[in-house]
């Protein structure tokens, strides 16, 4: 059982399959693809859909809206950009590493 759970956690979702699946909301697609879900949630949701197929229509997009409205603090923003190397690789004028080593 443990192994099967581990496998399901490591399972790489095919984004194309998830994208147009009728049963799940865009937020669920986002979470599953980014590995932000729990096994219990999936089992629960699958059970719910089996019990009452109308439930899938009742799922509102409130979760998606909440995600969009999440605010980001200055501290968080300032920490993220400190990783200069990721931005530096996008610059055309940066000297090549090979030249430096020579």
């Amino acid at each position: 059982l443990k192994a099967s759970k581990q496998n399901s956690k490591n399972k790489k979702w095919d984004i194309n399959k998830l994208l147009y699946m009728e049963n799940i909301t865009p937020m669920d697609v986002f979470n599953r693809y980014n590995g932000l879900y729990k096994d219990e949630d999936i089992e629960k949701s699958e059970d719910d859909e089996e019990e009452n197929p109308l439930l899938k229509f009742k799922r509102s997009d409130s979760a998606m809206k909440k995600h969009q409205e999440q605010s980001v603090s200055i501290e968080q923003l300032s920490k993220e950009w400190r990783d200069i190397s990721s931005i530096a690789s996008r610059l055309l004028t940066l000297p090549k590493l090979d030249e430096d080593s020579d």
């Binding site: 865009p26 980014n34 969009q68 605010s71 980001v72 923003l77 990783d83 990721s86 996008r90 004028t93």
Partner: protein
């Protein structure tokens, strides 16, 4: 035929879509594809929405659509939670003045002009008139205190983002002679701004794109703008921006920041200021139209916001937001993706376009948008791993490719000679 059968047939003519999400794009796609839609459950959850039903800015948008089309039928239910939209012929306009300002705030939020122009840019290449002149009045830029790069369909686009991000993209795909001129800048809440949009219907419109590598940039450009404020605020923001980009960032990159101060009659009815930043490739022609942009506006109502106590803080947060956007956006901003994908979708039937995106750019909003395209056009846009394409290195594991197959939409509104 019995009455019941008649009504059921009538209902089946409409494509039924749920909730108010992606409202503007649904209307635009329905209009271009000429497919009647019925949007149900518009803000029908009373627990979430204080004002259920269609919002006033959405009604304004529908009025604008009505003005540039002929024969469009719009029916809103009594509760406002249902909308029937039957598209007509896209005529365009040679001399239209449209006031976007909403005086009575009880009916809804007053949106910036960009909210109306963004979807309109997709419609204007399909108009009957050869040239279109539309003047917009209202708020030119509005503050977004959420600082969320995953822009939603409710976002307030500022006029500079439209001018320097959206219009060059359209030029890239052959829609030349398009311009957006600022005559007056007006901030939230009283507005008073004025923009003039001029477009020409292209003779051939075949967007095609193959980008499988992240675009390299070489120049940062910025505008610090303000209306009805002291010039020292603009100068302080400008100084701090130059300090961060020039000294703290320590990167060999050219940068150019301009000051744009508006005074007197042309400065609208409310004070406001902001920063627009973009990074471009000025050396290679094939990439010159793409830019990663970021914009922050402060208006008089939000000037007491914790984050904007001093102009220097505004400059800092604008730069941080901008740098984060560059990091996550290999080609264009996350918020510009639906617009770009729509353009690619108007390609010749069967033509494939490939657009590189980062995994962080696959947001719930984009997923919703792709689903809507599938519903309205009955055509799936696929997302593929970069490993499916040959000759790509390991560094590309953070990226995906959106494969868009052209739908072959034609401008049927113009007479063929």
């Amino acid at each position: 035929m019995s009455e019941k059968e008649k009504t059921s047939k009538k209902q089946s003519d409409y494509l039924i879509l749920e909730t108010e999400f992606n409202f503007r794009y649904r209307i635009v796609l329905s209009l271009i594809y000429n497919r009647p839609i019925k949007i149900v459950k518009i803000r029908n959850d009373l627990n979430e929405h204080l004002n259920p039903g269609i919002a006033f800015h959405e009604i304004k948008f529908l009025r604008l659509i009505e003005k540039i089309t002929n024969g469009t039928y719009i029916e809103i239910s009594q509760t406002g939670t249902q909308l029937i939209f039957k598209p007509g012929i896209i005529i365009g306009s040679k001399n239209l003045t449209f006031d976007t300002f909403i005086e009575d705030k009880e009916f809804g939020e007053c949106k910036s002009i960009g909210y109306y122009i963004e979807p309109l840019l997709l419609i204007l290449p399909f108009t009957k008139h050869r040239e279109n002149f539309i003047t917009f009045k209202g708020i030119t830029s509005k503050s977004d205190t959420k600082y969320n790069k995953n822009s939603s369909d409710e976002s307030d686009l500022a006029c500079d983002t439209l001018r320097f991000n959206y219009l060059p993209l359209m030029e890239k795909f052959g829609i030349m002679d398009i311009s957006l001129t600022i005559f007056k800048r007006g901030s939230f809440p009283l507005g008073g701004g004025e923009l003039k949009l001029h477009t020409k219907t292209p003779t051939s419109f075949t967007p095609n794109l193959q980008i499988l590598d992240p675009i390299k940039f070489d120049k940062i450009m910025g505008i610090v703008y303000g209306n009805r404020i002291a010039p020292s605020i603009i100068q302080r923001i400008d100084k701090e921006l130059k300090r961060i980009v020039g000294s703290e960032l320590k990167m060999p990159i050219e940068y150019q920041i301009m000051q744009d101060q508006w005074k007197g009659e042309n400065s609208g009815n409310s004070p406001g200021y902001g920063v627009f930043l973009q990074i471009i490739n000025s050396k290679q022609k094939q990439w010159s139209k793409f830019a990663v942009t970021s914009e922050i506006t402060v208006d008089s109502l939000n000037s007491n916001d914790v984050h904007y106590k001093i102009p220097e803080e505004l400059a800092q947060i604008a730069t941080y937001k901008f740098l984060n956007e560059i990091k996550d956006a290999p080609v264009v901003n996350t918020s510009t993706l639906p617009f770009l994908i729509s353009l690619l979708y108007f390609n010749k039937e069967g033509n494939l376009s490939r657009l590189l995106v980062s995994k962080k750019q696959i947001t719930p909003y984009l997923i919703k948008f792709l689903r809507d395209i599938n519903l309205i056009f009955n055509n799936k846009i696929l997302i593929k791993d970069l490993s499916d394409f040959e000759g790509l290195d390991d560094e590309s594991k953070d990226y995906l490719v959106i494969v868009v197959k052209g739908s072959g939409v034609l401008n049927t509104n113009r007479k063929v000679t």
